[in-house]
């Protein structure tokens, strides 16, 4: 006797619908009449030499510029660290309030989550623009921008990780008569600390990258110098700054990988 092979499931109608939806959306995003993007590949063919010249200029860094970058770079790193640490401190209670296992109270959890989602949905450079208008040019608006951005990232990612895990130890603590606060303090916090540490370090890495652009709107750090040199068409200096950002980002990545191994 032969075993009949089960028929192949019919998935092509569904695939077709999904592909049609994606194609439709793509077409809508290419209609300039309703705000879409006008695809203009002809201009690339016509003007690619301009870009190539710029890239060639960027490929010749002028290392004599390096000493002038130390102070702004140091300012960027300081802003990144202070922003990440301040956000780390504030993120602990907010995260525990935003996750179901550590805050079973639905109204307060919804409030915290909504506030975090609103904070997250404002782009970082928009914060910087408005904060520069509020508190003036300098490192302070940059710091506040990094702080707000980091809170959004850490609270969102860690609280979702807590939500998706199982937490038998919290059940055990409740059976032993602990209040939610005691359980969070004694069990949930040490259990989730590696998750937190991971995201704090990730926030630090992101901060260095972001502060490269914060300078454009006057929020301090290496970005101000970058913007200034770009304004003077000093591409050899610009490429020095980009290389320096690359080195600092890699250093912070290496350092945070070391710390990660130590902490987790």
């Amino acid at each position: 006797m032969t075993l009949a092979v089960p028929p192949r499931p019919r998935t092509w109608p569904r695939t077709l619908v999904v592909l049609a939806a994606l194609a439709g959306l793509t077409v809508l995003t290419c209609l300039p009449a309703i705000g879409g993007v006008e695809l203009d590949f002809a201009s690339i063919a016509k003007n690619w030499r301009h870009g190539a010249t710029k890239l060639a200029q960027l490929a010749q860094p002028d290392l004599r510029f390096l000493p002038r970058t130390w102070v702004p770079m140091l300012e960027t790193v300081q802003m990144a660290i202070i922003g990440a640490v301040a956000a780390a401190v504030v993120s602990v209670p907010l995260t525990l309030w935003a996750a179901r296992p550590t805050n079973p109270n639905t109204p307060t959890r919804t409030i915290v989550r909504t506030v975090i989602n609103v904070i997250r949905s404002v782009p970082d450079l928009v914060y910087a623009t408005i904060l520069v208008a509020l508190v003036g040019v300098g490192a302070l608006p940059g710091l506040l921008t990094l702080f707000l951005f980091d809170i959004g990232v850490v609270v969102k990612l860690v609280s979702e990780a807590i939500d998706s895990d199982r937490h038998p130890y919290l059940e055990a603590s409740r059976a032993a008569g602990a209040t939610q606060l005691q359980a969070n303090r004694a069990l949930a916090l040490p259990q989730t600390l590696p998750l937190f540490a991971n995201q704090w370090l990730y926030a630090l890495e992101l901060n260095v990258r972001i502060s490269a652009i914060l300078g454009i709107v006057g929020a301090g750090g290496i970005g101000r110098l970058l913007n200034e040199r770009f304004g003077f068409y000093a591409y050899d200096d610009v490429s020095v700054i980009i290389l320096e950002i690359l080195v600092v980002v890699i250093l912070i990545e290496v350092l945070s990988n070391l710390l990660r191994r130590r902490l987790t």
Partner: protein
């Protein structure tokens, strides 16, 4: 009766945390910040918050929606461009797929792209395609490749080797292993990352608006410079609502891709 083992020494941990605190304190002490400005912040936030949201100006809403769609379009086309380039390149850069020289070369390129701020890429592209949303979409596509390709090769490398070994045992070559073992296993994760790229681009497109690529970010920056706080408030509301909407839809699709369909009629917990 055995004695309890001695508790492990806490000295290294203490030293590490002391060193970390010293670094942080030094940063705070030496950063040239007008800390007094922080004291005035609550009052200033309240004042400008009232100006922005007390009475938002709604007469520019149609223009704002038009620009929002332009931002979404830049983000979408940028995500498509980024994913189309980074999936094949990322696959080639994964361990065990391409030759070693290609792998390290590609990874170096990805690292450099990650370090270059999007704004710089946009400013270079401006000279080619002009002050258009197309420049914005291109800049998003190129700037995203660094991270997207990194996620791609990390995804491929974290896959179970079993299926690829089975293909090799059945006589398949590298291309066959890629097509029949690695590709189907990695596809859901890669699709989910592609949608995530779209969500990231939505935020990033505001940044590109500041250099003149268009979109709601440019409008927001302009009206902030004009000090027309009522319009700024309206634009902020539009940005927040649009971003949250995109996040919700895209997040739901990502969960559906990663976790599969919800079981129908077989859920015992009800």
């Amino acid at each position: 009766m055995t004695a309890l083992p001695a508790p492990p020494s806490k000295l290294p941990a203490t030293l590490w945390s002391l060193a970390a605190s010293a670094v942080v304190l030094a940063c705070i002490a030496f950063l040239d910040v007008d800390w007094a400005g922080l004291l005035g912040l609550p009052a200033a936030t309240w004042e400008y918050g009232a100006l922005m949201f007390g009475d938002p100006t709604w007469d520019k809403l149609p223009r704002a929606l038009f620009e929002t769609w332009r931002s979404i379009s830049m983000a979408w086309l940028g995500a498509i461009g980024c994913v189309v380039v980074s999936i094949p390149l990322g696959m080639l850069a994964a361990g065990g797929v391409g030759p070693a020289w290609l792998r390290y070369g590609l990874r170096g390129v990805f690292a450099v792209i990650r370090a270059v701020p999007e704004v710089i890429i946009a400013l270079i592209l401006l000279t080619v395609t002009g002050l258009t949303p197309f420049t914005g979409a291109l800049a998003l596509a190129i700037a995203g490749i660094g991270t997207q390709a990194k996620w791609t090769y990390e995804t491929i490398e974290s896959l179970d080797d079993g299926a690829a070994e089975a293909v090799a045992a059945a006589g398949g070559g590298r291309a066959a292993a890629l097509r029949w073992a690695l590709w189907p296993a990695a596809l859901p994760t890669l699709l989910s990352f592609a949608l995530y790229r779209f969500e990231l681009n939505i935020r990033m497109s505001a940044v590109l608006g500041l250099v003149g690529a268009g979109g709601v970010g440019q409008m927001l920056a302009n009206y902030t410079n004009f000090r027309e706080w009522g319009t700024v408030g309206m634009l902020l509301i539009v940005v927040i609502v649009a971003t949250m909407l995109v996040d919700t839809v895209s997040g739901a699709i990502r969960r559906r891709i990663m976790e599969g369909a919800p079981s129908r009629g077989m859920d015992r917990s009800r």
